[in-house]
């Protein structure tokens, strides 16, 4: 059975210039122990669709779907209190800006222990022991000392490690990583990706990697969903996608990578891909 199942998800926002459809009929499935990458450029609705699935969008957003289930349970009809019990425990999320996603007023130790207290109800000593274990697991040196640090005393990479530690604190079944390395340097990105892949393999959890970087996709994913302007353009396993992309959009995206440049000029997406049918449907 699929862990997360989304069918025909539509998200609309009310804006000053009328309703805006950010996600337009997206369907996907994530299985246990699988790494799914959602790749797309800005405006493709890749983050919005995941936030919608987790119920984290502001009230101006209208979310509808034919099916939106986690582990067989319907997320849409579930009361908000039920949903909160699942989110943070069985589904965890990490974000692009690690320093901004941590509360600057509290120590990182307090923040990780809070999650353990709320979701697992551990007592004080057990919480501290588990927090140290988690920091060790994500590769933070001197874990016992670092628990007392504030987010601003740590580097971006370290903060992202803390975020990952908080995310895996309750052994989630599904981890959603929204551009987890975009704000980080390449060498740090490599470390964080390696860490995520190791944790994913060790815990056998499902991992959704939202990214715009084809390199990150190539280095992590099992299966890939390509989104463009709120629509799913293609879904394929990673090798097929890079070797033999079906949709013109994916082909154009791959050709625009500077690594693949053959001559003096880079082929641009607009030369290879005409999006009139998508443009017409999205409006």
């Amino acid at each position: 059975m699929a862990l997360l199942e989304i069918e025909n998800l539509v998200v609309e926002f009310e804006t000053a210039s009328g309703p805006f459809r950010a996600v337009n009929g997206v369907s996907m499935k994530v299985h246990e122990g699988e790494v799914l990458a959602i790749v797309g450029e800005s405006g493709s609705g890749k983050s919005v669709s995941m936030l919608a699935a987790m119920g984290l969008l502001p009230w101006t957003a209208k979310v509808t779907a034919d099916k939106l289930t986690f582990n067989g349970r319907d997320l849409l009809s579930m009361p908000a209190s039920e949903r909160r019990k699942i989110i943070g425990k069985d589904i965890a999320m990490i974000f692009q800006e690690p320093v901004a996603s941590l509360n600057p007023c509290f120590t990182v130790g307090f923040q990780i222990e809070e999650v353990l207290r709320v979701h697992l109800g551990l007592d004080k000593a057990a919480r501290r022991k588990r927090a140290i274990e988690l920091f060790e697991a994500v590769g933070i040196p001197d874990p016992a000392d670092r628990l007392g640090s504030y987010p601003h005393q740590m580097s971006g990479g370290q903060c992202q490690r803390v975020m990952i530690a908080i995310a895996i604190a309750c052994n989630p079944k599904l981890l959603i990583a929204d551009e987890p390395t975009t704000a980080l340097d390449v060498t740090i990105q490599k470390q964080i990706l390696d860490l995520l892949m190791k944790l994913q393999a060790d815990h056998g959890m499902g991992l959704i990697m939202i990214t715009h970087n084809m390199g990150v996709v190539a280095e992590t994913a099992d299966r890939v969903v390509v989104q463009y302007k709120g629509r799913k353009m293609e879904e394929a396993d990673v090798l097929t996608l890079f070797e033999n992309p079906k949709s013109n959009y994916t082909r154009a995206l791959l050709a625009a990578l500077p690594d693949n440049a053959t001559g003096d000029r880079l082929p641009t997406i607009s030369e290879l891909f005409v999006d009139d049918q998508v443009e017409g449907a999205a409006r």
Binding site: T15, S42, G43
Partner: protein, 302 residues
Amino acid sequence: MSQAAATSAVSTDPSRRARLAEFWYYFSENRGAVIGLVFFIFLVLLAIFAPLIAPHDPTQQYRDAVLVPPVWQEGGRADFLLGTDAVGRDMLSRLIFGTQFSLFVGVIVTTLSLVVGVVFGVIAGYFRGWVDTAIMRVMDIILAFPSLLLALVLVAILGPGLVNAMIAISLVYQPHFVRLARAAVMSEKTRDYVVAAKVAGAGHARLMFKTILPNCMAPLIVQATLSFSSAILDAAALGFLGMGAQPPTPEWGTMLAEAREFIQSKWWVVTLPGVAILITVLAINLMGDGLRDALDPKLKRS
């Protein structure tokens, strides 16, 4: 990300109108603000056309009609709709002419403190260092006094009168504008477009007033509307204390002061100017809230 798509949708229409439409969209979401705006426009019209609208001369004393109650009360007379005061002047006409003084006070005080405050604030925020310290310490000293007390002291030194009261009040309001402008300039100063203007060769004056200042106006406009209402209130308070407009000027605060002795017996002489002050200040404050909703990007919902 929805922002990128929205801008591409907007980029086909002419700019200023779209911006205005967006402003109106956020402003009109706040119903109180629209009511405030309507009432404010009504007041402005009243002030401009006061000589045409008012049924009597505001200083004309009708000896035969002293302390006549409003028309709906027993003893009221149809030619004095809201009654007359202790020397037989028509209340309605005095209230209508009073809007002229109140709006005049608001406009002058706000412009004066806005202009001077912005100049000092921009200079302090732009140059920092000792210039900043000097300006801000002076502002801290002004802020350390209770505002009405300081205004009173200043009027006592300058001599009572509406003009002196306005100067005193604008001086008291100065620090708020200086602080706001300084904070806004400090946050804008490091933005890339300022550096880009510097690379283009722009000098200090151009950077301060042409490049940075237009981007700092939103909080200042909001503060200006709120000061507008406080200025009216403070001018009325000074008038009440006998330090503002002098009789027989039909200024609302002065009217209140003259009516003090009738507070128990003749309600309309006291209540009506008070109500006029109340709803004017309320309307402008409501409008200021709406402006903040529309201009402050932090409160904007995506």
